[in-house]
Amino acid sequence: MKFLRNQLDKVKHQFEKGGKLEKYFYAYEAMDTFLFAPNTTNEVKGSQIRDAIDLKRLMMTVIIAMVPCLLFGIYNVGHQHFLAIGDAGATLGQKIGVGLWQVLPIVVVSYAVGLGIEFVFAIIRKHPVNEGFLVTGMLIPLVMPPDIPLWQVGVATAFAVIIGKEAFGGTGMNVVNVALTARAFLYFAYPTDISGDVWTYLGDAQVVAGFSGATPLSVAGDASTNGNNVIAALNSFGTGWNEGVFTLQNMFLGFRPGSIGETSTLMCLIGGLILIATGTGSWKIIVSVFGGAYAMGLLLNLVGSTPYTQLPAYYHLVIGGLAFGAVFMATDPVTAAQTETGKWVYGLLIGMFTVLIRNFNPAYPEGIMLAILFMNVFAPLIDYVVVSANKKRRLQRATV
């Protein structure tokens, strides 16, 4: 390690003020601080000791929490591929192989484009490279359909980082969730490429007879429009080629088509547990998103008239991307409500809006993305109310 440190120290002066490569200081710094925690010490006055945590470690914890979803996603992409082409005998290795072949390039493109832009902005704006993209770069692939063209991943990432984040001043300043911005960008810019049969990677292979690339949400929506029982429609879907794919249990486990990382509620919950146990994600938000969705489901059971509204409320918790959104998207501390009371309200409303959108907006079968983006925008308002209450308490105390 000493050798590496010496090499870095040898070139360091070139990047420092007055050096030949002064312009690229922050690019150098990003590399240096990645390899070695810096030797900076605390100020003469003030806190002489500091907690061992830093933003890099915090972000890394979130990435670790996403690993179950990523690994399962890789497997599931392969699994769904072989089911769709009618090859039920494919081995685990083959499935993982196909999954890796499909998922890894998306991850690589997402990181390469995003980090590239981060470095460019860091150099131009003369600020340190922020670690926020380490998480965003992993979130983006996990919310992409497995069949997405790589150039679209690149364009969406670029849009999200530049317009979604850097335009606001970089990590910590953005208003809406960066990864969801990427997803929403694709949703609105290339609607045909992010709906229909994209949820299963097919490749050049011939699909099995009876194959349909529909998602459980669209199956549920269609059934409801036609006045059919939603659960029956979900349970009978996939007959002949992917038996029981949309049963409650199967959707909870995640062996179904969908975005790469979002299909398994179980894996999301494991990730959620990691976030909560390590204190990196707000348990209040996670719990309240689920709670809000469940409450709204119950409410619709009471007042609704369509078969969709009669869907048992717990279905909403495992169907679609609610779990992934609740655990990894809604908990983004920068774009969520920042007050503790606000977090409850914020999560609750995300859950409620998600189910509302699912039920009443046939144009958007999945509500979680829009619900979170919507609440991202409203989070400052929630905080404003909470902070005002704090100020009011102080004022009342003075006048009593």
């Binding site: 900076t40 830093d54 707000s282 105390r397």
Partner: protein, 454 residues
Amino acid sequence: MGKFIRLKKGFTINLKGKAAPKVVETDQPETFVIKPTDFFGLYMPKVVVNVGDTVKAGSPLFHDKKYENILFTAPVSGEVVEVKRGEKRKLLEIKILADKKVEFEVFKKYSVSEINNLGAAEIKDQLLQSGIWPSLVQRPFGVVADPATSPKAIHISAFDTHPLAPDYSILFKGQDQFFQVGVDVLKKLTSGIVHVNTHASSEISTVFSQVKSADVNKFSGPHPAGCVGVQIHHIDPINKGDVVWTINPLGVIQIGKLFLNGVYDTSRVVAVVGSEVKNPQYYKTYTGASVKKFIEGNLNQDHVRVISGNPLTGTSIGKDGHIGFFDHQVSVLPEGDYYEFLGWITPSAKKISFHRALGLLSFLSPASERVADTNTHGEPRAFVQTGVFEQVTPMDVLPTHLLKSILAEDIDEMEALGIYEVIEEDLALCEFVDVSKHKVQEILREGLDLVQQS
């Protein structure tokens, strides 16, 4: 009647090198200093002594141009050997080469019954003349108390929860009578109550538990339960327009000695602590002592930082520095100017952390004492993580929003968010736990300055 207040939020930083419960009397340090920088709210100190003058304990060294009647006096007798100034001739310290035996300026002595009949004006005069007055700290802002005001209450925190903090029952052992008289004197300066705030879970020294004419409150919970600002918030919070005074027990005892014995006696016990001190223990000395005698030959290694005060709010003073006016603790920690390969991700149970993020394992064994160095453990970043400051601030204050309002220099917002209720030490834990490594205490002081100037 005292209150019992249970605090839940906070974090006690458990460091290695706590002082053994023994007070050592060694040769006294040669030099003592008074640093105007220890006091907030001064406009411009005016020095009234010259190098070469001899002074007694209690002889004036300087006063401020804003409050000419507040005298800052010599803690010991001896010869003024240096008037140190910094940039723009800013007065940094006045150094005294101490006599072998301390000689005192003579102030008026009173009997206990005479003290009971004293008026506020007489008391103030005596306090101002002797140099004890600057021990009185005014909230809001944590500045030297204004003699023209009368506070709504006076608060004395009778315990310290900072890392490596000394045990007050050792620091103030046997000072019961002086403390009582000090409280009696203070009582005459306020129309309200004198609060003595003690720690519920440890055995309370009789100095505090037996005190009369004051409310003895009890607090339980982790640091910052010992911070007087937190205590005030729960007993009788500061609102806009309120003035509250705080004073540490040492100041109270000095007041007692001043009125009973007629001297400004700054003798005190300080704890020399920290992982790098061979024999962490207590030493008897006077205010403003040079640390040299206490640490020479008493260190485990050479590459250390010597801190006047505790590791959370203290000041680095160097190996031949002097202890600050308000500090009763010298902490010696390893200097942290080293690189650590992949230090941002390697798991460690040694590094102390409030967090439980990946690889930070100190939460598994909170009872074991750890070594903390002065490394920043990361680089400054924008605010990202939320909700952490709130977990270490046992007050109905929103630290993140308050700090942001200071960064935005929005004075109305600062007032509304409660800047009157806090000073640096109350939010020092926020600086420690901050993922984004903000200089919380420095920012807060900027805010306090801004509000005062407005």
